[in-house]
């Protein structure tokens, strides 16, 4: 089977940095929703 020419070679940043950034972004997304939920619950005094 022919391998795709679009594959990229493994390097330090694809092995460690990308998953770390993905986790940070996912945490930011969840944190954003957490702030929305907490503000709906009246935790923050506006």
């Amino acid at each position: 089977m022919k391998r795709s020419s679009k594959r990229f070679s493994e390097s330090g940043w694809t092995q460690y940095l990308v998953p770390a950034v993905l986790v940070l972004l996912a945490a930011g997304l969840l944190g954003t929703f957490l702030v929305v939920i907490l503000s709906l619950l009246g935790v923050f005094s506006v």
């Binding site: 950034v21 993905l22 972004l25 702030v35």
Partner: protein, 239 residues
């Protein structure tokens, strides 16, 4: 005058033009919704510029409607078109979004303005709008729902796409592009939720950084030409 918003408006105009130009020859509905979403983004930042010069009820309502309610949802809908391949689902969601957007236009147009409050052009509108524009419960609920929908679609979709490219170790440019898009889209989403919660207001800066990162991400993801042999699930995450 708020120069940050002016810069955001200029960059957003260039970005929207690039996306809509791509739509002209690629014809993907995701590009159309992204383009419209970016026009809303630009209206939001442009009205911030106007409100930095003088108070205008129309500008305030256009700011709230475009910036606070519609931008994220329409951008997110673009990504929904890209990622949701089950027949009929994305068009149905798009139709619902159009109806909700029309409802939002009507509700915001009818929202009362409190003229007893003194408007300060030196302060960002995000710190003043709650005292000036009366928002019904339905407006608030719609604002939250539209932003959650859009943020899940745009940020979640970009994170998911980047993860797929990373897991398959293919198309490094698209993986990097989606990471940038996710980071850029997350900034105004976070800032907007902070404003809504009455926390620190960094909305204007987040809009500028956000549009720069998303534009860089879009450029990165669309930079390389695709060979005709491209297939598989990865093709569903094209931009």
């Amino acid at each position: 005058m708020h120069y940050i918003s002016l810069l955001s408006t200029i960059i957003t105009a260039v970005f929207a033009t690039a996306v809509l130009s791509r739509y002209r020859y690629k014809k993907g509905r995701h590009l159309l919704f992204w383009g419209i979403g970016l026009i809303f983004y630009g209206i939001g930042t442009l009205t911030e510029v106007i409100l930095g010069l003088t108070f205008s009820e129309a500008a305030l309502k256009a700011w709230y409607l475009s910036g606070a309610m519609l931008t994220a949802a329409w951008l997110g809908q673009g990504t929904i078109f890209l990622l949701v391949r089950k027949r009929g689902v994305a068009p149905a969601l798009a139709a619902a979004l159009v109806l909700v957007s029309i409802l939002a236009v009507v509700l915001v147009a009818l929202a009362p303005i409190n003229r007893d409050v003194t408007f300060d052009v030196r302060q960002p509108i995000s710190t003043q709008y709650k005292d000036i524009m009366g928002r019904s419960g339905l407006i608030v609920v719609l604002t939250i729902l539209l932003n959650i929908y859009g943020t899940i679609g745009l940020v979640g979709g970009a994170i998911y796409s980047a993860f797929l490219f990373w897991r398959k170790r293919v198309l490094a440019n698209r993986m990097a592009g989606n990471l940038l898009i996710a980071a850029g889209a997350l900034m105004p989403a976070m800032a907007g939720s902070f404003v809504n919660a009455g926390l620190v207001d960094w909305l204007y800066v987040s809009e500028l950084l956000g549009v720069i990162l998303m534009f860089l991400g879009f450029r990165q993801a669309t930079a390389a030409k695709e060979p005709a042999s491209q297939t598989s699930a990865v093709s569903t995450t094209q931009v």
